[in-house]
């Protein structure tokens, strides 16, 4: 699967996995089974959320559950820590950028 030119992350290995589809800011996007929500979002974009303290977009930081910078909102009302939650087909996420 090609890497999105507008994404922050780049795949360098593990390309051979089952594709799944989720919706980010209204766009239906294809990612891979086993991607964390953080990976899925940053393969296609450069942000996970907007800082509620007015200093712009954020894309996570530690990727190991320490910094709490990567909590994202799902349209079903759940909030998930994107670095430690696997992406699941059908998820609908809003980064606050639309």
């Amino acid at each position: 699967m090609p890497t999105s030119p507008s994404g922050q992350f780049v795949r360098v290995a593990e390309h051979d996995r089952q594709p799944i589809r989720l919706t980010i800011d209204g766009a239906l996007l294809t990612v891979l089974q086993g991607d964390t929500l953080l990976t899925a979002m940053l393969i296609h974009g450069r942000r996970l959320r907007i800082s509620e303290f007015g200093d712009g977009p954020r894309a996570g930081f530690c990727l190991m559950g320490a910094c709490q910078d990567c909590w994202v909102d799902l349209d079903d009302g759940r909030r998930l820590r994107a670095c430690s939650s696997l992406a699941v087909g059908g998820m609908v996420i809003d980064t606050g950028s639309s």
Binding site: Q8, V12, E14, R46, G56, R58, F61, M64
Partner: protein, 464 residues
């Protein structure tokens, strides 16, 4: 003894070896871990469906990683293993848990082994909250756990062995490495080489290999270099401006930055469990006080691995087993003294090497303390270094907890895990006029008062 319940928190190298030793002795062993699969950060395993072999994931450490994973797999059925579970509080003999899909729970225990590990120690610099800036450990997780690079052209800045290891792993995986900027002056690292050689020749050889492999690929490696600003638009890093060894400002183009200055032990659980702490000036860490085998000052609490003191994975395995033997001995069980002696020897050797690394790659605390006022110090709530200094100066906070109460730095979602190391350096370096003056106790100078007892004969009758 078999009725006793031992709770092990963490399933990295320390937690796995502790659990293995405890289970073998017949103690009821419960292992709680935040991750879905055991291994910790260093031997973290990708999700199901990933296919890279251990050699590709763990390099020189592949055999150790596999041995640890196998050891834990063999414990299935003999321990109570709760993955994807967090311990969020400890009260007397009870741990409060929160598990993925199972919610809140309480885990009673007779002994607690804390193997909580560590995370990157970072120094905030202007622009560090922009998308594209990640920790060194985070950059490694992206590659190891997800098969991704954090950018198309990644710059590594920080210090310590992880700096060279992760940069090397990126280069080897085919990612573009824009450069490696080490804050440690070359002379400082060189002077420490003797200590590294004495304490661990093989580990030193690996470190030199990573550096040489980067240079052989034509990747620039600079010493005594410090980040000044992550450049770019609001959602996009385009470069790093930095100060080179000669003090000049220079720029490198990149769209991803990985940064970290050694590791910070995760001591929150030890703190909640009532353990005493002491300051270790070499790594500049407050560490839970332990005896050589991991006994904390709080009864029934034991510490192992990098959560006790940063010494790496080999030390973590040894200290995990040692802490388990301490539990067993304290509960009246027998321990194999020759094995305990061998483990103590391994741990001491690894700690000597860790100390030599602290000298080779010192935490640049003066750089942290000199942070510009406008730099965001707390990324949770976007609180600047200037606001924190005002709390320390004008409001008169002289220690971290008062500074936190006044400024909210350390009170956000991460609870200080990201900002506290740098914030402590800002507070420690505050100017003397903000250090409260010493209060006297009513004695101006020492003087001999020449008091003598009066002659009882001259006292009035009613004075007797």
């Amino acid at each position: 003894m078999s009725a006793a319940r031992v709770l092990v928190v963490g399933a990295g190298p320390a937690g796995v070896r502790a659990a293995e030793t405890l289970a073998a002795s017949g103690l009821h062993t419960i292992v709680v871990d935040e991750a879905a699969r055991a291994g910790g950060q260093i031997y973290r395993r990708p999700p199901d469906g990933f296919s890279r072999p251990p050699k590709a994931l763990y390099g020189f450490e592949a055999a150790k990683a596999e041995a640890l994973h196998d050891a834990f797999a063999r414990l299935a059925g003999t321990i109570d293993y709760r993955p994807e579970t967090l311990i969020w509080n400890v009260s007397r003999g009870v741990a409060h848990s929160h598990g993925e899909g199972v919610g809140q729970g309480q885990i009673p225990f007779d002994a607690l082994v804390i193997a909580s590990g560590a995370h990157d120690r970072v120094i905030p610099f202007p622009g560090w909250t922009k998308p594209g800036v990640f920790t060194l450990g985070g950059a490694q997780v992206a590659l190891k756990y997800q098969g991704c690079a954090i950018g198309r052209r990644v710059l590594f800045c920080g210090t310590g062995p992880l700096l060279y290891l992760v940069a090397y792993q990126y280069a080897r995986a085919g990612a573009c490495v824009a450069g490696v900027l080490d804050s440690a002056p070359f002379g400082v690292t060189l002077r420490a080489t003797g200590g590294l050689l004495a304490a661990g020749g093989a580990a030193l050889a690996k470190g030199l290999f990573y550096r040489a492999a980067l240079l052989a690929r034509g990747i620039a490696v600079e010493q005594a270099a410090l980040p000044l600003e992550a450049l770019g638009r609001d959602d996009h890093v385009t470069g790093l401006r930095y100060r080179d060894a000669q003090g000049g400002a220079r720029e490198i183009d990149c769209d991803g930055i990985a940064t970290g200055y050694g590791l910070t032990p995760d001591t929150r659980l030890a703190d909640l469990a009532g353990c005493g702490f002491a300051y270790d000036p070499l790594p500049r860490h407050w560490l839970p006080v332990t005896d050589g085998d991991g006994r904390a000052t709080a009864a029934g609490v034991y510490l192992a691995g990098d959560g006790a003191a940063i010494a790496g994975a080999d030390a973590a395995e040894a200290s995990g087993a040692l802490a388990a033997y301490a539990v067993i001995a304290d509960r009246g069980g027998g321990v194999p003294m020759a094995r305990v002696a061998a483990l103590r020897h391994r741990l001491a050797r690894a700690r000597r090497f860790a100390a030599a690394l602290d000298r080779a790659f010192p935490f640049p605390h003066e750089f942290a303390a000199a942070m510009a006022d406008e730099t965001i110090l707390c990324r949770c709530e976007a609180i600047s270094a200037g606001e924190f200094r005002a709390a320390a100066g004008v409001l008169g906070a002289v220690e971290m907890n008062r500074a936190k109460a006044f400024s909210r730095v350390g009170m956000g979602r991460c609870q200080g895990r990201v900002c506290a190391a740098a914030a402590a350096e800002l507070l420690a370096a505050r100017p003397p006029e903000f250090v409260p003056a010493h209060d006297g106790d009513g004695v101006l100078v020492s003087a001999s008062l020449n008091l003598t007892l009066p002659d009882p004969g001259v006292l009035p009758e009613d004075g007797r």
